[in-house]
Symmetry: C2
Subunit: 517 residues, 2 copies
């Protein structure tokens, strides 16, 4: 947040109409009542001060945070959420949680805790954040319900750092329950919209924590692999003028006195960087598609992992760079994210992701032959339908035992105008898709780098040359042969983990019907 935004906020505040003030007054009254209630509650909890010897051992600080006493070595000091809480006579059992991990804790009336302090602890709402000072004790019997099974914490001081509202819009244990499990006992699961509507809570579940930590890993593996290969990271603009890209499926932006568009892909900019001698580039950033597609695998905004590179002799150098990058990602996930993968599998069981080294590369004609053999009727220059892609994925898995492969040499007719034709067979092209578990995660090609051939191809596709003038002009001052592709981050995570909805791998998904939170 820069200074400018601060000023922006101030202007906004000034522009604030007075019509909202009445509502605000109401809110204020509500807030005041609540504060009063809380004060009463705190007084109740604490009882009269004289009789509580432990009054400094608990409380609700706000601005100045408590610190470890530091005097007793055996005591630990930690911050955690109250995952569950259960009062039992003179004791209160808490399960304290930090991300995916939790531990049992205990406040018991004795020389370190008063009756009032136990009552205070028992009243702490689930999901509240507490600081506790405690001793760590071995337990005789394993605590099966916690990740830390061999110990429990005996609490000597406890402070509520942030109190949660008592009524949660969803329960974390319901949100991680596998579909169908516990149905007989009438246990609930949480539907996806409720999860997404309350994403701040849903993201605390072990499943969400695992998914997004793994996603962070995918980005890092992608970038590190490419950086090691000599790629340069670039930043491409998301607001683009009308001229440079097509008009379909594009979001329009009001731009001062004119209109602009949100970039559907960084392709033109990646290619310009190649024409500007950056040789090999990648970028990671949002990509926008104004498609009214309400499917399990479409988002209107997703994260593109984009690659573009000049090659020396043959566009298969590009395929090799991309597939090797994917293999490095798969290996990195397998080797460093087993905990996360197992955590997700608990809720969403799936087969481990399989891949070959080197990556399997099939030609389009080979794939067609496999499909024909399986009884599919389709023409040589026809594109693959989604069901046929999935079927092909299964056939390839059976035959080659891999969940990842490249389909090379698509018919020229089904690819965009900027795709380089196959010099040996004009029916085909130097283009490829890549698939994970039978679903497409990348589409790419050698691009036409010659302005004249590009003009001819565009005319063949009946594209208005005026609209793509700046694109074509980029290649007029010397452009090396090059190719690339764009990968959808959310799809890679979804398919790697064997999930079935892309909204599970987008932190704050956007689709035609969802713009919040």
């Amino acid at each position: 947040m820069t200074k400018d935004e601060v000023q922006g906020a101030t202007e906004e505040e000034q522009a604030q109409s007075k019509k909202g003030l009445k509502k605000q007054q109401k809110e204020a009254e509500k807030a005041a009542k609540k504060a009063e209630k809380q004060a009463k509650l705190a007084a109740d909890q604490q009882g009269s001060e004289e009789e509580d010897f432990a009054k400094d051992r608990y409380g609700v600080p706000l601005m100045v945070l408590p610190t470890k006493t530091g005097l007793v070595d055996q005591l630990i000091w930690l911050r955690a959420r109250v995952h569950t809480s259960r009062a039992k006579g003179k004791q209160c059992f808490l399960v304290l949680r930090q991300q995916q991990f939790n531990v049992q804790a205990l406040v018991a009336v004795g020389d370190r805790a008063s009756k009032q302090m136990v009552k205070f602890a028992a009243n702490i709402t689930k999901e509240s954040i507490v600081d506790v000072e405690a001793s760590v004790r071995k337990v005789e019997q394993k605590i099966e319900s916690c990740t830390q099974q061999d110990v429990e914490l005996h609490i000597e001081r406890i402070f509520v750092i942030s109190q949660s509202e008592a009524r949660l819009p969803l329960q974390l244990e319901d949100a991680v329950r596998p579909d169908g499990e516990g149905e007989e006992e009438g246990r609930a699961t949480v539907n996806q919209d409720t999860k997404l509507d309350n994403r701040v809570i849903d993201l605390r579940t072990t499943t969400s924590q695992a998914i997004f930590r793994l996603q962070s890993g995918v980005c890092k593996l992608f970038r590190d692999t490419l950086t090691n290969k000599g790629f340069v990271e670039i930043q491409t603009p998301k607001i683009i003028s009308a001229a440079s890209e097509g008009g379909a499926n594009v979001f329009t932006v009001s731009y001062f006195k004119t209109s602009a568009y949100l970039a559907q892909s960084p392709q033109l900019y990646k290619q310009m960087c190649i024409c500007a001698d950056f040789d090999k580039v990648f970028c990671v950033g949002p990509v926008f598609r104004a498609e009214d597609s309400n499917t399990h695998r479409h988002l209107t905004e997703f994260v593109g992992l984009d690659i573009e590179m000049a090659f020396s002799y043959h566009y298969h150098e590009v395929i090799d760079s991309i597939t090797d990058t994917m293999v490095q990602i798969f290996k990195g996930l397998r080797d460093n994210f087993q905990t996360e993968i197992l955590t997700v599998n608990k809720q969403y069981p799936s087969e481990p992701f399989k891949f070959l080294e080197p990556t399997l590369r099939l030609e389009y004609t080979e794939a067609l032959a496999m499909l024909h053999q399986a009884g599919v009727e389709m023409g040589d220059e026809e594109d693959l339908s989604t069901p046929n892609e999935k079927l092909l994925g299964r056939l390839v898995k059976e035959k080659y035992d891999t969940d990842f492969y490249v389909l090379d040499k698509y018919p020229l007719a089904v690819r965009p105008f900027y795709t380089m034709p196959d010099p040996n067979n004009a029916k085909y092209s130097n283009s490829y898709d890549m698939f994970m578990r039978g679903e497409e995660i990348l589409s790419g090609a050698q691009r036409v780098h010659d302005a004249q051939l590009l003009t001819e191809r565009a005319m063949h596709h009946q594209i208005d040359l005026e609209k793509i003038k700046s694109y074509i002009d980029s290649f007029r001052y010397g452009a090396p042969p090059h190719g690339g592709g764009g990968i959808g981050l959310e799809r890679v995570c979804m398919l790697y983990l064997g999930l079935h909805n892309i909204r599970q791998t987008s932190m704050f998904p956007r689709d035609p019907k969802r713009l919040t939170p």
Copy 2:
């Protein structure tokens, strides 16, 4: 580029009206004429085939690229641009360029090159891309005009991989000339708009190559440092609904049947991740500001390097994390990007960037005292103007010899409503800005993490509570104390290198008047 976009393009092509066809026909005729001319030129260049013994040693391949003969060990095979070319009797001297590096090359009539081949080489336009096979020879006298001064290449084969148009919109050597240099000799410099209008060529200059390779380094250093500190990378949405953020300086997007906005900062989402137990997060992505500011340091779209973290005891933990990250960036640049820094300095001289370890942290009152002493009149709770920020930067540099420092504890009155007040002095706040060479690069703060206090602060600022409801609600289910800040990537690069216009450090800058390329 995914399959969907491919389909998008096809639809667009189909939607193409016929009104453009006439224009296309014209273009086609033009293209055909050009092709004919080129063919003639090629024929002229090659002469009649019978008499040219070297006809296989040069040419203009398009789809199938030539390869190294591989027979002669002493020969190298390389791809480069023709930087300059000069024919001289039976010889043609070329300067070949790869990014920042160049070397002299020679084609001379002899047993490896015919007269026709030398003529062919002499006709290759500047900025064309060639593949050459050549022997490397030591030279007696250093070639001062090239980066490779001790050798030259004797070309035995040469192929034009991509021919540049003869007339360039700008000359690379003009684009890197320091302002004022060579004025007497009537040498040109290139103004910024011309550079930006022809960015594909301008990005080939040594200065641009250095700037954007260094920028790539800044991103890597930022992420690597934070990853080592246990931060998780997150991806936040750029299309947001009306409710979550303010209305000033926001771009509007048409979103199917409704309207949406482009995110001014990822702040809400970063904070939601903290409320969702991600503990420490960062993100790198575009940030949009619909401000009609036409200054040297404002863009309408820039890259935000954003940080947010929970802290244990005091918000200075956040400041320490951010300043240490900046210091790691400065050190990484100093240690690994000296070539790039020196290259940029050749065209834009500046003092080396100085920083202290640990970073200097001044309180707002101390800064005011320094300004008062320097004769500036301003009130205790007044914000710093841009000229005063710059003056302060100079005073700090004089006194502490650093180009980077933190200004802490801003007056509460000049900060946004979500800023945590100073618990010890209600006039001030737990907020900070960071400065490089006297210009702000980051604004940040401890955020109010308590829904009730946040409501009070918003009401104090007369903000419509309805509009920020989802923001406030994020803190109702337990939120740890946290803080963060956002850094502008382009500003960091500009100020580190001592440049004076942010358009130099944005590859494809966007401002109120520029949307292309």
